[in-house]
Each structure stands twice: as structure tokens, then as C-alpha cells.
């Protein structure tokens, strides 16, 4: 199986690579080449950094076109900023547009009572059956580190987490998957989720 | 008849430690005392201290009024500093030069003096010191026996010569770290106690033995002589431990010495332990601790861990990990120097170590480099019988 971590200059690629290699025996490459991406069985879109910078990098590498096209037939998992990129837009930076593969807009957390960013382990409501959370216990803890979040998204199976208010912490459809949290930093729950995604047969 | 070997349930002191006492719950006297210290009425002791100081304080405000033996390390520095700044005494600090002093030891002593203390540096004859140390090593398994004696005798003589009867040693190790509790409630202690407990009864024997050496005369041993009981009385000498008057806390001493007396730590762990701020002054110290390990089954890490446990900085379980990792270190980094110092070859040297290894506790085995090593027959904290 070919797994490609999309390299657009932002993302904790090393962490992700080693976490994936531990759960799945696969041909793993980190790349932004069109050829590699289209030959993948699974795609992972990582993300650590700012949304503006991310979209700028994706545009300059022609990855907006490539990813949009690839995601029609190859399952893709967007992690944290990667999840944000898959969506319509974010108010981070200057209302930049994302890939718009999922209809939903990211906004910043607002609170005078709670500290922002949202940093640490928090539970995900996994009561709806799903691919990502198969065989994972109820109310599992995953590691979050973000200031922007998705309140709602159309036409996609969503799982929610409570922090200040309720937001979407993971979504999935036939080819598009996203997690706000970092499965590669989330101990056994995270490893299982990655494995579920990698084992999934669309 | 077999003996059960066990560990204190509160720290990791071993039942093999000389003179140590345990209660019904297998808690050693050091831990019992440590608990007592926190609820103890120290005001009485403070009063006793004030009275003692009043009695000996220089009335003319011109002379020294107490002697504090120091090495430049944390404990003596602390005591001298407190006597001067908190109690307004005029201490004369005294160091008896050890053999094989370390660079950091020398630096710390200089820093201490520069911090503003009156100091006398006593250097007993290095050749006689060497003979006494060597004899002590062979006859008693005490690598710096000559120095252990001199820090009592030479200090007392200095005190007598300066007409300062009051001498403040640091802590009574027996009470603080495990051992005889006979002086627990006594402010002053005696030369007899020094000979019996600190020198483990070997003073007279080593003395007469060293005189068999044609190169040593009675006069050469002048610095190692105790005053007679008469002289103690006429000079009104008073030997005391600071730990009697104030709760002894070595970490506190370290922090104060660092702040006020220029104390520097080693850059790395001292060999055989996890600390870097205690007993840094002389290289024979590591050998002393290794012999302790061979004789009794516990080394420097166990002692240091006990201190950390008792001051609440570490739990017993945490300490156990450290003891398993660091204890019983063979001081190979100093062996060449030891051999040169003692004028021995490695066979003779190891022969002395072999003599003191407790064969019930240790067995000799070849390691992966085919070198014979003493290996413990026991696992730390697992009771066994011998």
C-alpha cells in the first residue's frame, strides 16, 4: 500500500511518519509530486502553522488542483490545519479560502473564561458509528492544540468535542476525513485511529 | 544462627549499618529522628545554645570565641556563617588538609575564606598522614583514617592553642543518618565517644602500629594526639554538634553555602551517587564509600537517597531506582592515584578490598572484560538471611 504524506512545507512530518510506520506496514513517502500523489492508496494532509501560509504554499506548489482532483478517488485524512484546509474557509489571517471539499467555515474560539488556544487532551463523542473510531472506547481522549475550530459542516458525518462550546473535532465521508486533533500525538487512541484510516477500503 | 538482613521501611538504610537501631515497624533511628525533628520543641535547644554561647562568647569582644572545623564544603560553611551572622560569635575556622585534595575542594575552600572568615589551615606531615592512612586502609578498611583522626585531634589542639574551648562540629552522623543514639540528647560529647564510635576503637592499635615504622617517631605524631582528660578539664573544652541545637538539613546548608560562601558544585555527579554538592573535597572519599559498600552492602547513593527521602524531596520508591542504578561504584577513575598514594600495586590494593568485602553479601565474579568484581548476592530491598 502506498501512503503519501503531502509535503507543502508546514507540518510535523517526522512525528506523523514514525507514527504511521508503527501501525502499518506500508510504502510511506513524503511528497508533493503529482505522480506520487495520484499513485497513493491513502493521502495524509498534515498541518502545523497558519492557514494563510498553508494556502499560499499549496497554491504555489499547484497542490490545490492536485489534491482536489486526487480526493475524488483517494481517501485523504486532513489533520489539524490539514482539516482546516479541506474546508471552505477560515477567518484566520485574511478570510482565506480553503480547498472547499467540505462545506464549513473555521472561526476562532472566543471566551473570557477559558484559555485559548485549546491545548491538551479532550474527549470526542464517538457515539455515531464511524470508520475512524471503530473499536475505540467511548469518549476517547485525543490531543488538541488549536485556536480555530469548525462549528458546523454540511453533508458529512461529524463527531463533536466540547470546549467553550461544541465544535466538530472529526468528520468523515467516503473519501474525505478530517481530525482537529493530532492522532499521531494521541497515544493508543491515536494509533488505532490511524490504523483504522489506513485499513479502510473505500 | 542466621541473621535477617533488611532495609528501613522509610528510607533505604540497611540493617547491616553499624550501630543502627530500628523500631518495631522496621523504621531506622535516622527516620524516627527525622520525624521527631518536625514536631520537636527546638526552643529548649535554642535556649541551651544561647547559654552555651553566652558562656564562651569573647567578653573583650576582641578574641575568637569558637572553633568551627571546615573543609570549604556546605556543612562547616553553614555553621560558621550562622554563628557569625545570626549569633554574633567570632568563629575561627580550621581546616585539616586532607590527602589527595580535589581541585573543586581547593576552590571551595578559597571561596569560603574569601567570603570573609578567619581561618587556620593545618597541614599535618603529609608523610605521616600517608602512613596512617595506609595503615588505616589495611588494618581497618578506612582509607583516610589518619585524616579522620586529625580532624579531631589537630582541630582540638588548634583550639587549645588559641585558647578557644568551644568547638562546633557539624552533625552527629550517628543520630542524623543512622547509628548509635547515645548522644541524641546530649549537647556535648567526649573524646571517648570519638575513639569508640568515629574511629571504631582502632585509634590505639593504629597508633602503636605506625610507631613500629622506623621512620616514625612519637614527635611526628604530635598533631594526632588527644589532650588528656586533665587537659580537657583545665581548658574547659566543649565539643558539640550543631545538629543538636538546630534541625540539621544538608540541603539547606548547601543553599546557604552557595549563596554566602561561594560554594561551587561539581559539574557532574560525584562518583557513586546522584548528587554533586556534597563531600567534594578529597579523592579518597570515593574509596571510603566503596569500602562501605563492600563491608555492609550499601554505598553513597543509599546515604544520599536517605537524606533526600527524609527531607521529603523523594519517595522511597523513587530512591530505590537511584540506588539500583548508582550504588556501589568501583572508583576506577581514581585507582591510579590511589595506588601511587598508598605505594601499592593493584594486586595488593585489591587484596585489601577483598579482605573487607563481606563474603555473605558479595561474591567474586569475572565481568565481561574478564576482570574480577565483587557482585552482590542480594537485591536491594529484598530481605534475605545470612
Amino acid at each position: 500500500m502506498n501512503v503519501v504524506i503531502i509535503d507543502y512545507g508546514l507540518g510535523n512530518v517526522a512525528s506523523l511518519s514514525s507514527a504511521i510506520k508503527e501501525v502499518k506496514n506500508c510504502n510511506l513517502i513524503v511528497s508533493n509530486s503529482e505522480q506520487d500523489i495520484f499513485q497513493a492508496d491513502k493521502l495524509i494532509l498534515p498541518g502545523v502553522g497558519s492557514f494563510d501560509q498553508a494556502m499560499a504554499n499549496l497554491r504555489s506548489l499547484d497542490l490545490v488542483r492536485i489534491i482536489t482532483s486526487a480526493a475524488e478517488s483517494i481517501p485523504i485524512l486532513g489533520i489539524c490545519l490539514g482539516m482546516q484546509i479541506l474546508c471552505s474557509s477560515s477567518t484566520e489571517g485574511s478570510l482565506t479560502k480553503g480547498l472547499d471539499l467540505v462545506a464549513g467555515e473555521f472561526n476562532k474560539f472566543v471566551s473570557t473564561e477559558y484559555t485559548i488556544p485549546h491545548i491538551g487532551f479532550n474527549q470526542v463523542d464517538v457515539s455515531n458509528p464511524s470508520i475512524l473510531f471503530e473499536d475505540i472506547s467511548d469518549n476517547p481522549d485525543f490531543y488538541f492544540v488549536h485556536s480555530y475550530r469548525l462549528h458546523s459542516a454540511e453533508n458529512i458525518l461529524s463527531h463533536r468535542t466540547q470546549y467553550i462550546d461544541s465544535f466538530i473535532s472529526a468528520f468523515e465521508s467516503k473519501y474525505i476525513f478530517g481530525t482537529q486533533f493530532h492522532p499521531e500525538l494521541s497515544q493508543t487512541n491515536g494509533s488505532k485511529l490511524l490504523q483504522n484510516f489506513l485499513d479502510y477500503d473505500a | 544462627m542466621s541473621t535477617k538482613i533488611f532495609w528501613c521501611q522509610s528510607c533505604l538504610n540497611m540493617s547491616t549499618r553499624p550501630r543502627i537501631e530500628f523500631n518495631g515497624e522496621q523504621i531506622c533511628n535516622a527516620c524516627q529522628w527525622s520525624k521527631e525533628k518536625s514536631v520537636f520543641d527546638w526552643t529548649k535547644r535554642e535556649e541551651e545554645l544561647q547559654n552555651l554561647l553566652e558562656k564562651y562568647r569573647a567578653k573583650d569582644q576582641k578574641s575568637f570565641d569558637c572553633v568551627v572545623p571546615v573543609s570549604g564544603g556546605k556543612d562547616g560553611s553553614y555553621v560558621a556563617h550562622v554563628l557569625k551572622t545570626r549569633y554574633g560569635m567570632n568563629p575561627l575556622t580550621v581546616t585539616v588538609r586532607p590527602a589527595l585534595s580535589s581541585n573543586i575542594g581547593n576552590r571551595n575552600l578559597s571561596a569560603f575564606i574569601e567570603a570573609g572568615f578567619n581561618h587556620v589551615h593545618v597541614s599535618p606531615s603529609a608523610t605521616v598522614m600517608q602512613k596512617l592512612n595506609r595503615l588505616g586502609f589495611i588494618e581497618k578498611g578506612f582509607p583516610y583514617y589518619g585524616w579522620l583522626i586529625a580532624i579531631k585531634t589537630a582541630v582540638i589542639q588548634t583550639a587549645m592553642n588559641f585558647k578557644i574551648p568551644l568547638i562546633f562540629y557539624g552533625e552527629d552522623g550517628e543520630v542524623e543518618y543512622g547509628g548509635s543514639t547515645e548522644n541524641k540528647n546530649k549537647a556535648l560529647y567526649s573524646i571517648d565517644y570519638m575513639k569508640r564510635v568515629y574511629f571504631e576503637g582502632g585509634y590505639e592499635k593504629v597508633f602503636s602500629k605506625v610507631l613500629e615504622d622506623p621512620g616514625v617517631s612519637e614527635g611526628d605524631l604530635a598533631f594526632w594526639q588527644f589532650p588528656s582528660d586533665e587537659e580537657v578539664k583545665t581548658h574547659d573544652l566543649a565539643f558539640t554538634h550543631w545538629s543538636y541545637f538546630e534541625p540539621w538539613d544538608s540541603y539547606r546548608n548547601y543553599v546557604v553555602a552557595k549563596e554566602h560562601c561561594g560554594l561551587e558544585e561539581k559539574e557532574e555527579n560525584n562518583s557513586g551517587t546522584f548528587t554533586n554538592f556534597a563531600q567534594n573535597d578529597q579523592k579518597l572519599c570515593s574509596l571510603h564509600f566503596y569500602l562501605m559498600y563492600l563491608k555492609f552492602g550499601f554505598g553513597r547513593t543509599t546515604s544520599d537517597a536517605g537524606i533526600e527521602i527524609r527531607r521529603g524531596a523523594m519517595s522511597r520508591d523513587q530512591a530505590l531506582n537511584l540506588v539500583r542504578l548508582f550504588d556501589g561504584h568501583y572508583p576506577e577513575e581514581f585507582i591510579e592515584e590511589y595506588l601511587e598514594y598508598y605505594q601499592m600495586d593493584i594486586t595488593e590494593f585489591n587484596g585489601v578490598l577483598d579482605k573487607y568485602a563481606n563474603k555473605d553479601l558479595f561474591r567474586k565474579e569475572k565481568n565481561s572484560n574478564s576482570i574480577s568484581e565483587w557482585k552482590p548476592n542480594f537485591a536491594v530491598d529484598v530481605e534475605f538471611e545470612i
Binding site: 510535523n12 517526522a14 512525528s15 514514525s18 507514527a19 508503527e22 502545523v48 502553522g49 497558519s50 501560509q53 490545519l81 484559555t115 485559548i116 488556544p117 485549546h118 491545548i119 491538551g120 487532551f121 479532550n122 474527549q123 481522549d141 490531543y143 488538541f144 492544540v145 488549536h146 485556536s147 466540547q162 470546549y163 493530532h182 499521531e184 500525538l185 494521541s186 497515544q187 493508543t188 487512541n189 491515536g190 494509533s191 | 540541603y251 543553599v255 552557595k258 558544585e265 561539581k266 559539574e267 557532574e268 555527579n269 546522584f274 548528587t275 554533586n276 554538592f277 533526600e308 527531607r311 521529603g312 524531596a313 523523594m314 519517595s315 520508591d317 523513587q318 531506582n321 537511584l322 542504578l325
Partner: protein
């Protein structure tokens, strides 16, 4: 509900990992020593995050990154690296070495504008501000450059400043408590965690699980951390975590 965190800190200096006591460093061992005695792949199962700080008097970021990469191999938990960051270049090196977050200390004083640039490039959630403070005449004064230079700035004032710049978290380190095993500076942690708009990680003084407990009971504290290399060897962190969970402290389970 957001969990609190238990974090382990490694202090690095010139090739060695160190035990710090009141900011005096004792070299304990090089990378191999840590690997042998701190089986991090095991230990990482009991902690929420790992922080590795370069406290070398003279920095060699390449060597630091090399050594750190060996430690974190096969460690899948959030990692924060820091020490001597003075530019975007340094930040990118640390991220390239595997950091999930990076920590900045002196640069907040020396060049707040550069800090803002770093935050805007990488996102506030990835940039931690670390503060080293000491008590002097009844005030808490912040130090920089591995605790060697007094800034004269009072702690709460500095925290407000850091909140304004936009750091995502604050690592609050008591120099007085550091390495003593006396427990955290609880009063200060309470007041600063009530003051700060970003999460506080408390550091300095933890010697045993009871200290962690007391720290985590503080309502607004985000995490407790220890850099005590000796006290938490072998299974001690696991035992601490189990104990905290038994005491119903809000920590993640997996």
C-alpha cells in the same frame, strides 16, 4: 472536557542531559545514558507531553537537534523544544528536528517583534513562552538567558506582556524551587494562572507525586511539569499518573 497534563522536561547542556538545582546544572549523562536509563518509549506512555530545553551557555543548535532526534525516535507524544531561539531560522530547525511546539524565553525581551513574526508564521498554538523567575525582596523578578540576567521586570507584568504578544502557552518556572524537591510555588501558580489568558504549565520543585497532585488541584492550571531527572526514573512517572487518576485528577486516559 479539557484534561490537565503531566509533562516531563529534559534540560540539555553541551551534549549532556542535566539535573538542575536552583539553576545550577549537574551533568548526568549523554544521549546514551538517557536512552539506557530512561526508556522513553515506555515513559512516554505515562506523560502527556515532553519538553526538551537547551540550557547550554554556548548554543550549538545542530548538535542539540542531533541529540534530541535520537531521544525522540519512536516517541509519539507532543514534543516541545526550546533554548536560545533568536530568529525564524532557529525555529524552523527545531520544527525540522521533530518539534510539535517550540519554546522562547529571552527573545521575548530582546525582540518582541521577531516573536510576533514567529507566532504569525507558525500559529500561536505552537509557540510557548517560558519564564524563569526568582523571588527578591517580596517581588517575583523575571530572569533571562538561562537565569543569568535579571530583567528587573515583575512576573505578572511580564505575563500580561506575553499574552499581548500572542504566545499560545506559558511555561512558568520557579528558580527558587528548581531541583529542590520542595514542591511547586503554589501561591504564584494560582495567581498567574488566574491572570493569564493562555494555559500555564507549572515547573520547579516537584519531587514526588504529591507535588503533582497539589499543582493539578489548582483550578486554572493547565499542566504540571518536572525536570527532576533523578526522582522519576523507571516506573515512577507511571506510578504518579496512576495515583493521580485514582485521586480523580482530570488527566487523559488511553
Amino acid at each position: 472536557m479539557l484534561r490537565k497534563r503531566l509533562i516531563f522536561v529534559l534540560i540539555y547542556s553541551e551534549g549532556f542531559f542535566c539535573q538542575s538545582r536552583n539553576f545550577r546544572l549537574q551533568k548526568v549523562g549523554k544521549v546514551d545514558w538517557i536512552i539506557d536509563n530512561y526508556k522513553f518509549s515506555e515513559v512516554s506512555k505515562y506523560i502527556d507531553e515532553l519538553i526538551i530545553l537547551d540550557a547550554s551557555p554556548t548554543k550549538d543548535i545542530a548538535r542539540f537537534c542531533d541529540d534530541v532526534q535520537i531521544i525522540i525516535e519512536n516517541i509519539h507524544i507532543p514534543k516541545c523544544f526550546g533554548g536560545g531561539i533568536s530568529s525564524l531560522g532557529g525555529v524552523s530547525k527545531l520544527f525540522a528536528a521533530g518539534a510539535d511546539k517550540i519554546s522562547i524565553n529571552s527573545l521575548a525581551f530582546d525582540d518582541p517583534r521577531a516573536c510576533k513574526e514567529i507566532i504569525s508564521q507558525y500559529g500561536s498554538q505552537s509557540i510557548v513562552a517560558s519564564i524563569d523567575y526568582k523571588s527578591e525582596d517580596g517581588h517575583e523578578i523575571v530572569y533571562k538567558s538561562n537565569g543569568t540576567i535579571a530583567t528587573g521586570i515583575e512576573l505578572s507584568q511580564h505575563v500580561n506582556f506575553l499574552n499581548e504578544i500572542g504566545f499560545g502557552e506559558i511555561l512558568l518556572n520557579s528558580m527558587d524551587r528548581d531541583g529542590t524537591g520542595f514542591g511547586y510555588d503554589l501561591d504564584k501558580i494560582i495567581s498567574i494562572s488566574n491572570l493569564s489568558t493562555v494555559p500555564i504549565i507549572a515547573l520547579g520543585g516537584a519531587g514526588n507525586k504529591n507535588h503533582f497532585h497539589a499543582g493539578l488541584l489548582i483550578e486554572n492550571v493547565g499542566a504540571v511539569a518536572t525536570a527532576n531527572l533523578f526522582n522519576f526514573m523507571e516506573d515512577a512517572l507511571g506510578i504518579s499518573r496512576d495515583y493521580l487518576l485514582e485521586e480523580k485528577i482530570n488527566l487523559a486516559k488511553w
